[in-house]
Amino acid sequence: MDGGFVIETRDLRKMYGPHLALDDVDVQIPQGAIGILGPNGAGKSTFFKCILGLITTTSGDGRVLGYDIKTEGDLIRSRIGYMPEYDSLDPDLNAIDQVRYAGELLGMSPSAAMQRAHEVLEYVGLRDQRYRKIESFSTGMKQATKLACAIVHDPEILICDEPTNGLDQRSREFMLKTLRRTVDEGGGTVLMSSHVMDDVQEVCDRVVMIHQGNIVVNRPISDLANQIEKEVEAVIWGGATKMEEALISHGLKVRRMGRVMRVTIEDENTIEQIISIAAKSEVQIRELREYEPDLEDIFLLIMDKLGARVKGTSELMTSEHTGGDRSV
């Protein structure tokens, strides 16, 4: 690794015919828990495929754990664990056999793979279900099995594509706790792609945002929160549109979500100004408080600045993400 970065790319470009999937990506990713964010079609999956050495890049260079992504893909993949977004398990196998086989495909001996399969299935909370067929598993158990397959060889980098897809609250918390523990106790790196910003915020220290094939952000989450302008949140009753227009006409920056308005604090008089405008507009302010931006706000603000019309991250989700009609 050069300069302590586990992943480095320089001018990495990938084109599918005329479509530009990655546009001269320069990124340096240090060890730790990193969230990979971006709207659908931004280039996240292409980025993963490139760093796994699975597809040939159009131009540019990249190194993962010091290995060249163009020529040493097999060495990279033997040191990376990948947890796919979609179903990737054989429903006819028991969990233990699926994980053992995943280990054998990495080059582990059958006995070592079996030993390790027991360990990782216990780690992901499937100790008592390891001899059950995967077809009988809930979505949460399948996700845990995929995670077990990914960490069977104790990888240096774990790539998780939407790890909380379709999970209920309890399973989601367990999955996130497990990922965080994998970084803390395993000492490795987790690259986590998710549309659920709360999940990313809970696990990751840093985010990399991709938009239209470009890396638009690569910073620690704490830095990003400090960069965002402070806002005050007001819950309006009896004329939200009137209030919004009045605030804008007084030169204030407003983000409106129904009856909730987030107004950028320009100076110490902003709050008084809001109250005064509300009084003049004859609307009620039911609540008024300082607003702490979370990762979702940061994401939406950045996407808004980049011209991507995303009102909320829920817009980016399909029934696959939410679990559809399936009960867990």
Partner: protein, 356 residues
């Protein structure tokens, strides 16, 4: 009953714990727990009562990340794992690829049926000397026609047994990976698409070879052993045996290629199986009808079975049933294999690791 130490919460201050246990075990004070509890006896003011505290539920599951420092094996270890997973599944689905019990039973029945000539040779030896023995030997003993028939005979082998065997074994080889998304498990590991395809192909070919070629070899060996034949017999019959062996291997390769290609184009093992049977029987029927109407065998080059049968007749050295040139049948076999392998490679190249 609970032991007192178990009931005491970990959060108890050390001093309190000491007092409690001292009261229980220290006989110097001459106190019992009851005395302490009810304030009886001397030193009552200094004593501390042992009171019930909320018991800890205990920890049944403790999540600990265990590192692994083992060495990963080289390429052949990974490839052998793929091979083993698919081949061992035929014998025991426990821990390996799952083959439906019906599929395994069918393979067993086909294998045992392909061994029936051995039983007939054994019978002819047992009743040696009579007319029946000669008839049995002519019908099932080793000769050019029987060697050809053991692999390439149409009924029952190429009508009922080999195509069904291929359809059952090869049907889900790649289509199951497409359907279940398990290709991601392969391609996110240091398994190349070439290795993946080659190992799946080899696994299928070995299973087919075990039934088709191994039964052929067993048939020839049994004839020598049961009849007590010597070196002269071996030298006489070995060339035609090797011709049949080569024809058997070509049959396995061609059927595997077509079956694997069909398996790679869909997500349904049923489609691959039915598609394979349709190609084998459909081309044969079309060619047969054209022969009956127009009295030409040229259209048999469309049929993989007939092209192989024609080639096999030449390899073993028996008169051909077909009027058209052998070269056309050879070209047909080559084209079928090349087209199937080409399709297989193209389709495997399109298998995704991120989503399918």
């Amino acid at each position: 009953m609970f032991d007192e130490d178990e009931i005491v919460d970990d959060s108890l201050e050390p001093e309190t714990v000491q007092t409690a246990s001292k009261n229980e075990v220290d006989s110097e004070l001459g106190q019992t727990r009851m005395e302490v509890a009810y304030g009886a006896g001397d030193g009552d003011d200094d004593a501390k009562a042992v009171v019930a505290r909320k018991a800890s539920m205990g920890v049944l599951y403790e999540q600990i990340y265990r590192p692994w420092n083992g060495q990963l094996g080289p390429r052949w270890v990974r490839n052998y794992a793929i091979f083993r997973h698919h081949v061992y599944g035929i014998f025991s689905s426990k821990g390996h690829r799952h083959y439906n019990p019906f599929v395994r039973l069918s393979i067993l029945v086909i294998f045992l049926t392909s061994l029936t000539p051995i039983a007939m040779i054994f019978l002819s030896v047992t009743i040696s000397g009579g007319e029946g023995s000669d008839w049995l030997n002519r019908m099932w003993g080793v000769n050019r026609y029987n060697l050809w028939g053991q692999v390439l005979g149409y009924f029952p082998r190429n009508l009922c047994m080999w195509p069904l065997l291929t359809a059952l074994v090869v049907g889900g080889m790649i289509s199951d990976d497409r359907k279940n998304g398990t290709s991601a498990i392969y391609f996110s590991r240091p398994v190349t698409r070439t290795d993946y395809t080659a190992m799946k192909y080899l696994s299928s070919a070995v299973v087919l070879g075990f039934v088709i070629v191994f039964s052929y070899m067993l048939y020839y060996t049994s004839a020598i052993v049961f009849n007590g034949e010597g070196w002269a017999y071996l030298i006489d019959t070995l060339p035609m045996f090797l011709g049949g062996l080569l024809a058997g291997i070509l049959l396995v390769i061609t059927y595997t290629s077509i079956g694997m290609a069909l398996s790679s184009v869909s997500q349904s093992r049923f489609f691959a199986a039915i598609g394979f049977l349709a190609i084998i029987f459909g081309t044969k029927i079309v060619a047969l009808m054209i022969e009956l109407i127009f009295e030409t065998t040229i259209f048999y080059i469309l049929s993989p079975y007939d092209s192989l049968a024609h080639l096999g007749q030449w390899l073993i050295g028996i008169p051909a049933n077909y009027e058209h040139s052998l070269a056309l049948s050879i070209i047909s076999v080559i084209i079928y294999n090349a087209a199937s392998v080409g399709l297989l490679i193209t389709r495997v190249r399109s298998l995704e690791v991120t989503r399918e």
